[in-house]
């Protein structure tokens, strides 16, 4: 039954006129109450554009007509003029509806956890203070966590902000007239509990002058006896090198427990590594440059036990037989030390004699080994005292001995980590603090300097006086000046002016623009240079964007943006099945992430065009990834630009192992999941959620049926077919890659199949999987565009540079402005794209054009 739409479309206000004649002629036959093709009934469709879901539905109708997808190709095509008229009419209604509600489109948003931490780090010059983990997780909307829709605030947030402010002030306020003494501690891996166990058992060996240390020969048929006796006799105290065979695992980590930082601050760290090939007691040149990993470990409680939180400092060259010293600047917090791992070695455990084919533990083992000579820690290092954080709060007030009244709280510093040998220096109980003679005048002066920096904009006298009044109130209550000001600073750090992006309605003022730019490209507060510029001048703005992108802090943008756009944050969401993917390791995973970040940096540095998002003739690789990708000639853990062989399927984000791992579940791959990812993240066409009550397609890991065969059954359902025709093809193309991003021609199976060849898998890793059915990576994109495999598919995608650029622009805009790209933003977006494409379509150019656009410069 077909009804005329004329009556239904009689609407007012937000219910603007729609192209009823066009619908009657071309659409209603399939989209009426009886047929409801694709679930759409135009005859009963609500016209209330104030309703979010309804608005989104009308946008989809507009887009499908505009792109020529509707009416479908097999139906009679409307005339071009007819289509333009129809879409123009819908567009006008949608734009008008948005304009009515324009004022509230971009909500007030607070800082994300990451922005908060970076802001404190930069404001106080405390570049390693760890606050993020103590704050509640942010939500996510439109793919990013900095969207106002996702950033609510609760009493829990407030309680945590108070804790974070206290932690910041504790670290910032100097409590002594001179800096803590800097020392140099050279640490041996030997003498620490866990490495000593390995030395006793034979998973590590004590080395001296590139030979094994005669005081403790390598363990043979038996392990060494009585670890306590070895410790007492000083066997581990000789500053000998330690060669380690065993990779860290769930039950073993190597920590330098004899040191745990007491004073938060900057430290200079040097570490000496080399590698060797061990042959039953003989030390031979190694197979190449091995990778030694250093991490910063945050001890829990008193440090006993294992599995303490940590983050990777880096992977360092351990060349053959010749020690290489690496130097790095590190920020250490209280109770932090270092962890070591033989990252590039296979997970071999020697002490289980016979398990891995070796006899007599170390003396019966042949295989690679990484040696650590020592790790040297120098610090804490201060270039000024009191530190800048203190100066931010108290200017140049001298620290003097506290005489009378209620003293500021001082907790005694002590080494809390069992076994750590560095202790705090002996000090008397003198309390040092700032004590101005005219506290309120000084408070006013200090706040006049602090508040604009903290609030990222000028602060009125009234606001400043309110904070001074708080100080006065505390002084009258008996607090000393430091304590009173601590109340004030804590209040400021928990105030909306600090916690929220305060932006005026309409065009952003100078400070708001500086802040928006800084949070976009640094994920943090603007510096004084940026605030001092006239950003309304487009050349100045361009120069500042360049300055921000060249600054090391722009790495935060890369990490935060990719973490959300490509979901890199989810890289460790699952562990690959150990039987199916035994070659997977944390080193490989970290290399994956490093590749994707380095690749994006490369696009940015060289202003490469959007086609490079999916296709390129180079990749950013280290040895681990190169071996994983089957590319020869790359040595060591450092990521570098590598030209790809002609027939190589790699190049571009799509075929990077990180993306391929994120889009798999650790055991199997699903073309649906990967297809949806490609559509949403790279093509800017997020698919609709699946209809209710449709069971998921469960892959068969036994190796009997391919995922394509299973999906074909699913796609035979007409309710599913329409969407899957779009979603599945990109996923089919990516079927050439397994769950850890390895190229495959056959699926791995843990049951049926043929014996698998070793390929590039380390000879020390046992293989338990089999090879199942062959992979078919062919498919057909909408519009009868067929592809034979991944290379074809990438070429097809790369040809549509405009689509790729448009999607990237949208992603940047959502991330940079904290709100989705609205329908009415499309004209401005097209303007950005046109200008960018005229200059070659590069990613860096795109960022410049976005920053220069009204979409970026208005609230």
């Amino acid at each position: 039954m077909m009804r005329s739409l004329v009556f239904i479309f009689a609407c007012t206000g937000l219910q603007a006129a729609m192209p009823t004649a066009f619908f009657d002629t071309h659409c209603v036959e399939c989209h009426d109450a009886d047929t409801r093709k694709g679930g759409l009934d135009l005859t009963s469709l609500k016209q209330n554009l104030g309703d979010e879901d309804n608005f989104a539905l009308w946008v989809r109708i507009h887009d499908r007509i505009e792109l020529g997808e509707m009416p479908p190709k097999k139906r009679e095509r409307p005339k071009r003029d007819e289509m333009i008229a129809a879409t123009t009419q819908i567009a006008k209604s949608l734009t008008d509806a948005e304009q009515v509600d324009a004022e509230s489109r971009s909500g007030l948003r607070r800082l994300t956890r990451g922005e908060y931490e970076n802001t404190v780090r930069d404001l106080f010059d405390l570049p390693g203070i760890a606050l993020q983990a103590g704050l509640p997780a942010d939500g996510s909307a439109h793919g990013f966590d900095n969207n106002s829709d996702a950033l609510d605030i609760s009493h829990v947030n407030m309680a945590k902000y108070i804790e974070a402010a206290d932690k910041t002030l504790d670290m910032a306020i100097a409590t002594r007239p001179t800096a803590p003494p800097s020392s140099i501690e050279r640490l041996s891996l030997a003498g620490n509990y866990e490495p000593d166990i390995m030395l006793m058992q034979g998973d590590a060996v004590l080395l001296r002058d590139k030979k094994h240390d005669p005081v403790m020969p390598p363990a043979g048929a038996y392990a060494h006896v009585n670890q306590g006796a070895h410790e007492s006799l000083g066997v581990f105290d000789r500053m000998s090198s330690v060669g380690v065979f065993r990779h860290e695992d769930e039950s073993w980590n190597a920590y330098f427990r004899r040191f745990a930082a007491l004073y938060p601050g900057r430290y200079r760290v040097r570490a000496s590594f080399w590698s060797l090939q061990w042959d039953k007691g003989q030390i031979l040149p190694s197979r190449g440059v091995e990778a030694a990993r250093l991490s910063v470990v945050q001890f829990n409680e008193n440090g006993r036990g294992g599995q303490h939180p940590s983050y990777v400092l880096g992977y360092y060259d351990a060349p053959s037989l010749k020690s290489q010293i690496h130097e790095l600047d590190v920020w250490l917090n209280f109770k932090e030390t270092f962890g070591f791992n033989v990252a590039s070695l296979a997970p071999v455990v020697l002490y289980r004699v016979g398990t891995w084919g070796q006899l007599d533990r170390t003396m019966g083992y042949t295989g690679p080994c990484i040696a650590n000579d020592w790790v040297e820690v120098e610090g804490p290092l201060y270039d000024v005292w009191p530190p800048r954080a203190h100066q931010l709060l108290f200017g140049d007030l001298p620290l003097t001995e506290f005489k009378e009244g209620r003293a500021p709280v001082r907790l005694p510093l002590k080494q809390e980590i069992t076994g750590a040998r560095n202790k705090p220096e002996a000090t008397d109980k003198t309390v040092w603090t700032v004590q101005p003679e005219q506290p309120l005048i000084v408070a006013g002066r200090l706040l006049a300097s602090f508040l604009p920096k903290a609030f990222r904009r000028p602060v009125s006298d009234d606001i400043r006086k309110a904070y001074v009044a708080k100080c006065e109130e505390r002084l009258k209550a008996g607090d000393c000046f430091e304590t009173a000001m601590r109340w004030v600073y804590r209040a400021a750090l928990c105030s909306p002016d600090f916690l929220y992006h305060v932006e005026p309605a309409g065009r952003l003022d100078h400070q708001a623009l500086a802040a928006r730019l800084s949070y976009f490209l640094w994920n943090s507060t603007p510096d004084e240079t940026l605030l001092a510029q006239n950003l309304n001048d487009s050349k100045t703005l361009h120069a500042q964007v360049e300055r921000l992108l060249k600054d090391p802090k722009s790495q935060r943008f890369i990490e935060d943006f990719l973490g959300q756009w490509l979901k890199l944050r989810a890289i460790a969401a699952n562990d690959p099945d150990k039987k199916l993917y035994p070659e997977f390791s944390p080193y490989l995973q970290d290399s994956m992430v490093a590749e994707t970040r380095a690749y994006f940096r490369e696009l940015l540095e060289n202003d490469l065009a959007a086609g490079y998002l999916v296709q390129s003739d180079f990749a950013m690789l280290n040895e681990k990834l190169a071996v994983h990708y089957g590319i020869a000639g790359v040595s060591g853990p450092k990521i570098r630009k590598v030209k790809l062989p002609k027939d190589c399927p790699r190049g571009g984000f799509l075929t990077q192992a990180a993306v391929l791992k994120i889009t798999a579940n650790g055991t199997t791959t699903s073309p649906v999941v990967r297809g949806a990812y490609v559509m949403a993240r790279l093509l800017g066409k997020p698919p609709q959620p699946p209809p209710p009550n449709v069971p998921a397609v469960e892959p068969d890991v036994q190796g009997a049926t391919t995922i394509r065969e299973l999906l074909n059954k699913h796609r035979n359902n007409s309710a599913c077919a329409g969407c899957h025709a779009e979603i599945d093809p990109p996923g089919f193309a990516l079927e050439s890659f397994d769950v850890i991003g390895g190229f495959r021609e056959r699926y791995r199976s843990n049951d049926k199949g043929d014996k698998a060849p070793r390929g590039s898998i380390d000879p020390k890793i046992p293989i338990g999987f089999k090879l199942g059915p062959a992979v078919d990576a062919s498919g057909e994109m909408p519009g009868a565009r067929k592809f034979a495999g991944i290379t074809d598919f990438k070429t097809m995608l790369a040809a549509d540079k405009h689509l790729l650029l448009k999607n990237l622009a949208q992603q940047f805009l959502v991330y940079a402005t904290g709100r989705p790209v609205a329908f009415s933003d499309r004209a401005a977006l097209n303007d950005i794209l046109t200008k960018t494409e005229k200059q070659g379509g590069g990613v860096r150019t795109l960022i410049h054009e976005i920053v220069q656009s009204p979409l970026f410069q208005t609230h």
């Binding site: 403790m216 363990a219 048929a221 006896v225 006796a229 070895h230 006799l233 066997v235």
Partner: protein
Amino acid sequence: MNRILLILAFAAAALHADESKHRIIGISEPSRVDDLRELVKTIAGVELVNVDPATTEIVLRYELSALFPSINPKKPPAEEAITQKLDSLLKAASRGTFTLKPPATLAEDKMEKIEIQAGLLDCMACRYGAYIAIAKLDGVEHASISQTNLLTAWIDPAKVKREDLLAALKKGRVEVLTP
């Protein structure tokens, strides 16, 4: 007058430099005697006069004023307190690898000699580990271990038996070849 002063000086010396005889646990093998000599040199006011590796008996000379800086000359510490002090100084300097115990009260001919061949012990610290497992047992008068990992113990058969030694070695994860 001079003669009186000389007598007083001798009396003071006799008061401040005494000797005591002890047995020591920790001399697992002959090279440990050298370790002991070097180590005692680092303890102020204490001197190693004699050491008998066979019986592990040592003679220490010490200055009371060095051991007890705030000593009241009218109330000299008891012998037991002096031994305790010497023991604690030795333990601290050797990280517990040398400890004192009273001289043997059992005659040598009443002691029983026990030999146990241990399996492969890779280094001196391992041998020390095997040695200390039995040397600290009550009833083991003295013990030693050879470079070939032969453990020898002289025991008071009334207090300890071979099985006790074997059990202690097993607990210390020492492989025994001749039970």
